[in-house]
């Protein structure tokens, strides 16, 4: 079991949990957290390099490092692992954000409990990304969700009880649909009469075969269940309302992890389960969800325009950006899907950066109302510059990650849309692509509005003049994220290739991609 490198993505956080449980003071806890998250980053880089080596050597299996250990044998539940480029990208993202998150919560109250929950959350996240078994995946998914309740409830601010409960219940509501969908998939995983399976790869390998895939009638039922199930976590309109409240109340590191990684679970799940396993229904039903996600893209952006609480603004912007992820996935077009994954990476990093900065600013000014702040550039130039960079990434400045992700999505979606339009299949995709494109303008509006009010202009509150700029751990946290954002923005083709190569031809043959 331990010969497989992937299993260490779960083992290391578990060791961290054990380590933190044994820690006696805050220094040890920090040491464990930082060491562990560095180890995770190293591990993901190692996996990445090995993966690229194997691919370069001509390995064509849809997933590499696959392995499977029997768990609940009678139910065919295995602990099956495997990664492709997408999962590796997600693993990288997660480890980086865990790292940055550890630094962002350097001075948290009750550090032991906080880190315990935080790392339990990351166990779920990493587990989710490495497994290819629906049951195990679902289990890790829920493991990742529940620590949020306590993290927000105990360490949050504002209406934390309400928000924590709402977030947990809505997400669990999504996972209720999801559970139904997953069990349904299991029961129809092998209509030809063979052994049923939870294994994604196995089901996917049959997805292109009309005889052996999940029966089409059932796909039409199970696809919405799974898509909505994951979509709730992906903040799909109209199931996004947990996001503003939840983020507003969450402590810094939790917002970072939640927006940065956890919301990606939704997009990843939609892709990996809903689309990957049920391409037929995806094609038939995508228009419903296209409308919903297309709405979320502009809707989130419009809502962000008038909010005055920094976290609300950012949460709505997340709704918009994550909507774009789901939107692109639904385009069923390789380019758009690549863009979706890039957008996940990009949004993960820059939102984490945003939330880290907001947390740092809030930690100093004790308010998140942009109307009560101003001219922070004069007071805390470092944080303000970082904020501008994050904003620029968010509004899609070339050279930062947002641009490449959005452009890939738009190009892909436009191709899908035009193909539909010229093929006489209606112009829905085209119209929604153009609507989604509009978000770049609206994004600019709300980002610049915040930057203008918050950072520029005269100092609003004289008490703020005495505030200090970022500490070293805060700098480390933000610099890490900015570097990653810039890395994606400057060398997108590396990530593009990493993701692009993994779209299994077997699946996309069905979609005509």
């Amino acid at each position: 079991m331990f010969a497989n490198i992937l299993i260490y993505f779960v083992v290391i956080p578990l060791l961290m949990l054990a380590g933190i449980a044994l820690c006696r003071n805050v220094r040890q806890i920090r040491a464990v957290a930082v060491t562990g998250s560095l180890a995770l980053i190293a591990l993901s880089v190692v996996v990445l390099l090995q993966y690229l080596d194997l691919r370069a050597a001509g390995e064509t299996a849809p997933m590499l490092f696959t392995d499977s250990w029997t768990w609940f044998e009678p139910l065919h539940i295995n602990l099956a692992v495997g990664v492709d480029g997408i999962s590796i990208a997600m693993l990288l993202l997660s480890s980086i954000i865990v790292f940055a998150g550890s630094f962002a919560s350097w001075k948290i109250d009750q550090p032991k409990e906080f880190f315990l929950w935080l790392i339990l959350l990351s166990v779920g996240v990493f587990g989710f990304f490495i497994t290819v078994d629906l049951f195990t995946m679902f289990m890790f998914y829920e493991v990742a969700l529940i620590p949020m309740y306590l993290l927000i409830g105990v360490w949050g601010s504002g209406r934390k009880n309400y928000s924590a409960m709402k977030l947990t219940l809505m997400l669990m509501g999504g996972s209720a649909f999801l559970m139904l969908g997953l069990i349904g998939i299991y029961y129809h995983s092998n209509p030809a009469g063979g052994q049923l399976t939870w294994n994604i790869l196995e089901i996917a390998s049959r997805a292109a075969d009309a005889e052996q895939c999940i029966p089409q009638g059932w796909q039409m039922v199970l696809f919405p269940l799974t898509f909505v199930g994951f979509g709730v976590l992906g903040a799909m309109f109209p199931f996004h309302t947990w996001s503003p409240d939840g983020h507003a109340s969450a402590p810094t590191a939790v917002s970072m992890l939640h927006a940065g990684v956890l919301m990606k679970l939704g997009g990843y799940g939609c892709f990996r389960v809903a689309i990957y396993l049920m391409p037929y229904a995806a094609q038939e039903l995508s228009y419903i969800f296209l409308i919903l996600t297309g709405i979320s893209v502009v809707y989130g952006a419009f809502c962000a325009c008038v909010k005055t609480d920094l976290k609300y603004i950012n949460a709505y912007s997340s709704v918009s950006h994550c909507g774009l992820v789901l939107f692109a996935i639904l385009m069923l077009n390789t380019t758009a899907m690549t863009g979706a994954i890039m957008q996940m990476l990009s949004h993960g990093l820059m939102t984490a950066l945003f939330f880290a900065l907001i947390g740092m600013i809030y930690g100093r000014t004790h308010t998140r109302e942009i109307t009560k702040m101003g001219g922070l550039m004069q007071i805390m130039p470092y944080l303000s510059v970082c904020y501008v960079i994050a904003g620029m990434a968010s509004l899609g400045l070339p050279g930062l990650s947002g641009f490449v992700a959005e452009m890939t999505i738009f190009v892909g979606s436009f191709q899908a849309g035009m193909a539909d339009y010229l093929g006489g299949e209606g112009s829905l995709r085209l119209v929604f692509t153009i609507i989604a494109c509009c978000s770049i303008v609206i994004t600019a509006v709300y980002i610049l509005r915040v930057v203008g009010k918050l950072l520029f202009g005269p100092v609003q509150d004289d008490h703020h003049r005495t505030l200090t700029d970022a500490t070293w751990w805060e700098r480390l946290s933000t610099v890490t994220l900015i570097l990653c954002v810039a890395a994606i923005g400057c060398f997108p083709n590396f990530f593009n290739n990493l993701i692009n190569t993994t779209f299994s031809p077997a699946i996309f043959a069905v979609l005509g991609m």
Partner: protein, 669 residues
């Protein structure tokens, strides 16, 4: 050609940006400024070398045996591959217009770098706050602008297009403590961003049909036997037109899809080049430091729109309706801006409107250009005007900067009669005014004259219209000139030193630019730049009657200005009272800003954003909350069930059991 030089041209400003941006605050002001200027100087030299090699080196990849200018792709690196064909590459395309732009950009940029060493400190030699940041941003801008002009594909252009937008944003908002600067920068970014949306969609449409982003694939054909060398060829554009026309749906809403694509791309250009109705950001952009206005908002960035259209010009030739739109937009903008410029008080705004008007000239020039009208003279005229305008407008702005630096105010009402105090500025400014007014032999005369010739070739209306605008240009520029340097005597306020000329770092650029403005008109531009690379000797086609008319018009404009503004008199007020409505509309810029305010605040914010936010909180979220409320209500509603009375318990028990049986029975019936 060696790739090191082109790479250095792009790399040095980028490096300077990173260096100054990351470590600038730790450097002394002087060091940062010097480093930035030296860096730009190096780039200037490299760019000159490159341009010189291109134009006069005579290498076979630059010019063919027949003397036609070729396009040469110096390098092209894959940056992001969307699909097999749609690949964003970062490359360096050398052709007449990019070489010309390299010269323009590096020249102006270097001048501005130099000039700012003096401008960005006060009279006591104290550097402005954020001086290092200023140089970092200037470097960033130079990098972006250079990247833009050498882009071999439309997506690279879009990338750098966005980057220049961002650097413009940063520089306009340089004085970030001033709310007006902040809002101006925001406005500039958002308006251009809106235009970029059109640009983006245009790119998407174009690239979808053609399967490529490369400019050369749209407009040029490969030259046999040479890697990366192409020549502009109208047949390629015709091929593109065919692709569009043979698609299943060649028309969309009454216009051809190609027209749509081109107009959408032009929309991007309208935003950047401040064409009506997307011009509103440019006057406000004057909140930035004056050197920035000279560099970005007069000479380089704002002409990107013109450059974009010029890049795709063969494609535009395929769709006359698109060119028509460009002409109309340009013509309207030119007149509008000129009229507004006549009434502004802030000297930088006058210059800003004049910039808008002049860019509109270039646009019109492109719009009226046809292959059969003097072999596409309009294209060449436009590029020529771009070149000359960059020089004299930078000169004017830097001159204005000198004035502002000396006076500490933007309004001419605070100036008047400065000619004695600031002779260098006075002379150079006058040269600039003469150039823009189109007085022979200053550079503006030649370029404007060709534009008018081109217009005449296309339609008389355009010609008359543009000539009138040219007259107006002469009028408002001299109005400005007189109001600053003549009119009544300047009064030195108490506690102020008398204004005086600037240090050499500021004067030197003025002088250099003034010299260029004087002589640039004699450059045989047609030999260097033409739409298809075929040399075009415009002196041979020089239309003397047009030249004479335009000269007359210009002089008339100047004369009128002289009459009205040379000395303090009643005429301006009389004029104002004679046409009060016109004057008011002009003075308020025809209320465009108010209209935009209304649209953004009332319609977008008031009718979309706020209701949506309300809807989200109360309807969507309310629905989610109502699930909880309903659950609680239901819990309350069934509370009586658990009354604590055993007899009620058994009653429910019995009724439950009976109902279970009874209902099942009824259902089975």
């Amino acid at each position: 050609m060696d790739v090191t030089v082109p790479i250095l041209i792009l790399a040095i400003p980028l490096f300077m940006f990173l260096l100054l941006g990351l470590t600038g605050m730790k450097m002394s002001h002087k060091l940062a400024g010097t480093l930035g200027t030296l860096g730009m100087g190096t780039v200037l030299v490299l760019a000159y070398v490159t341009a010189f090699t291109y134009f006069f080196g005579g290498a076979p990849e630059f010019i063919d045996a027949a003397g036609n200018r070729l396009q040469y792709l110096v390098f092209d690196q894959t940056w992001l591959a969307f699909t097999q064909n749609l690949v964003i590459k970062i490359g360096f395309l050398l052709d007449p217009i990019s070489a010309m732009m390299l010269v323009v950009i590096t020249t102006i940029s270097f001048m501005v770098h130099l000039y700012s060493l003096g401008y960005m400190r006060d009279h006591h030699g104290v550097y402005e706050h954020g001086f290092q940041r200023f140089y970092a941003f200037l470097s960033l801008f130079s990098f972006s602008m250079l990247g833009l002009v050498v882009a071999p594909n439309i997506f690279q252009m879009y990338i750098f297009w966005e980057l220049v937008g961002a650097s413009s944003y940063l520089l306009i908002g340089f004085y970030y403590r001033k709310p007006s600067a902040v809002s101006a920068s925001k406005k500039a970014f958002i308006v251009t961003r809106f235009a970029d949306l059109g640009f983006l969609i245009g790119i998407l449409v174009l690239s979808y049909y053609t399967g490529t982003f490369n400019f050369t694939d749209f407009t040029s054909s490969a030259v046999a036997g040479m890697e990366g060398v192409t020549q502009v060829n109208i047949h390629t554009a015709e091929g593109i037109l065919n692709i569009f026309q043979s698609s299943p749906a060649p028309m969309f809403m009454g216009a051809s899809v190609l027209t749509w694509a081109l107009v959408l791309i032009f929309m991007g250009g309208m935003g950047k080049s401040a064409m009506l109705p997307l011009h509103i950001w440019l006057p406000d952009a004057m909140e930035g430091p004056t050197p920035v206005s000279a560099l970005i908002h007069a000479a380089t960035m704002v002409v990107a729109g013109v450059y974009l259209v010029a890049r795709l010009f063969p494609l535009y030739l395929m769709e006359e309706s698109a060119l028509m739109i460009i002409t109309v937009v340009g013509a309207l903008t030119a007149l509008y801006a000129a009229m507004v410029a006549c009434t502004q008080v802030d000297i930088k705004r006058v210059l800003a409107f004049s910039t808008i008007s002049q860019i509109a000239f270039m646009m019109v020039s492109l719009g009226v250009a046809r292959m059969d009208i003097h072999h596409g003279l309009g294209y060449m005229a436009s590029m020529f005007h771009l070149f000359t305008h960059a020089m004299f407008k930078a000169l004017l702005f830097l001159g204005a900067g000198a004035l502002i630096h000396a006076i500490g105010s933007n309004d001419y009402t605070d100036m008047h009669g400065l000619r004695k105090y600031m002779p260098i500025t006075h002379i150079t400014f006058l040269i600039g005014c003469l150039a823009i007014a189109g007085i022979i032999p200053f550079s503006g005369f030649f370029s404007k004259d060709e534009i008018l010739s081109s217009c005449l070739g296309n339609s008389t209306i355009a010609y008359v219209w543009m000539s009138a605008v040219a007259g107006l240009t002469a009028f408002y520029m001299f109005r400005l000139y007189y109001l600053i340097f003549w009119w009544k005597e300047h009064k030195v306020h108490e506690g102020h030193h008398a204004p005086h000329d600037q240090p050499w770092v500021m004067s030197l650029p003025l002088i250099i630019l003034a010299v260029i403005s004087c002589v640039a008109g004699f450059i045989p531009f047609g030999n260097l730049v033409s739409w298809n690379g075929v040399p075009y000797d415009f002196m041979a086609h020089f239309n003397w009657s047009v030249a004479a008319v335009s000269l007359v018009v210009a002089i008339a404009g100047i004369a009128l200005a002289t009459v009205m503004y040379r000395k303090e008199n009643e005429l301006p007020a009389k004029f104002k009272n004679a046409v009060p409505a016109l004057w008011r509309w002009c003075h308020h810029r025809f209320y465009w800003d108010e209209l935009y305010m209304f649209i953004t605040h009332r319609i977008i914010f008031g009718c979309i954003c706020r209701p949506l936010a309300w809807f989200d909180r109360h309807i969507i979220d309310g629905t989610m909350d109502s699930f909880a409320t309903i659950t609680n209500k239901a819990s309350d509603a069934i509370k009586p069930l658990q009354s604590g009375q055993v007899q009620m318990y058994v009653w429910y028990y019995l009724i439950g059991a009976l109902a279970l049986g009874g209902i099942t029975y009824i259902c089975l019936l």
